[in-house]
């Protein structure tokens, strides 16, 4: 079972993760990325490449399911203007044992940060807006998952 979605509305972790519980796994791991008010940010805008986004997320989920024999996975990323305090991305994984669920969850969030076509712009109270620069550390984390 897998749910992959680019969402224009707020993400409700409880509702989105619920379908993973009855799949028979003994372990369920999740990660939520939350929009933060670092030095005056009031909202974060997410632009994406519609024709490519869901396909790139689906490829990551399929890869995770195979590598960690997951029973199910959820990968939902929000786009548009996201107020501070709201989730930007939700990753959920379930497997028979915790190692698979936890590692697959970390894999998905690390790799989507470098492989999925999203771009963050930070909006501030003074009306200014600035594109976020990609972090070298994100590439390093993503690389460690590549064979």
């Amino acid at each position: 079972m897998k749910v992959i979605r680019v969402s224009c509305e707020a993400i409700d972790s409880a509702i989105e993760l619920a379908p993973l519980v009855p799949l028979g796994g003994g372990a369920l791991a999740s990660f939520t990325g939350i929009a933060r008010d670092d030095d005056g940010v009031t909202a974060i805008e997410l632009e994406h490449y519609p024709a490519m986004t869901e396909a790139s997320l689906a490829a990551l989920v399929d890869d995770a399911i195979t590598r960690w024999s997951l029973l199910g996975a959820v990968l939902i990323h929000r786009v548009g203007i996201i107020p501070v305090g709201d989730p930007i991305v939700l990753v959920g994984t379930t497997a028979s044992h915790r190692a698979e669920a936890l590692e697959a969850c970390a894999f998905l969030i690390d790799r989507l940060k470098t492989d999925a076509p999203f771009w963050k712009r930070e909006h501030r109270a003074d009306g200014s807006a600035k594109w976020v620069e990609a972090k070298i550390s994100d590439n390093a984390r993503a690389d460690k998952w590549r064979e």
Partner: protein
């Protein structure tokens, strides 16, 4: 070839997509970039530093050396910052 731009690149170029007939001798993404950078001042600033650009050919992540080879859409954008 359909060219699509995102984020900072879209703003530098001034629009999000355009159709371009590329000269026959252009084989790779990198060569296309050099040709584009020569088209106007705007394009020069948008495309002059390939190290700050990433590419997708028909929605698959590619590199500068990747052959265009019959692909229909080339996307050019800054490194991604999702999640």
């Amino acid at each position: 070839m359909q060219l699509v731009y995102f984020a900072r690149v879209r703003e530098a170029v001034g629009f999000e997509a355009e159709e371009r007939d590329l000269p026959a001798d252009i084989q790779t993404v990198g060569e296309c970039l050099i040709w584009l950078a020569a088209q106007s001042e705007n394009y020069a600033t948008a495309f002059d530093d390939p190290s700050r650009l990433r590419f997708a050919l028909d929605q698959q992540m590619v590199w500068e050396e990747t052959l265009l080879e019959g692909a229909s859409e080339l996307a050019i954008f800054p490194p991604v910052t999702g999640g």
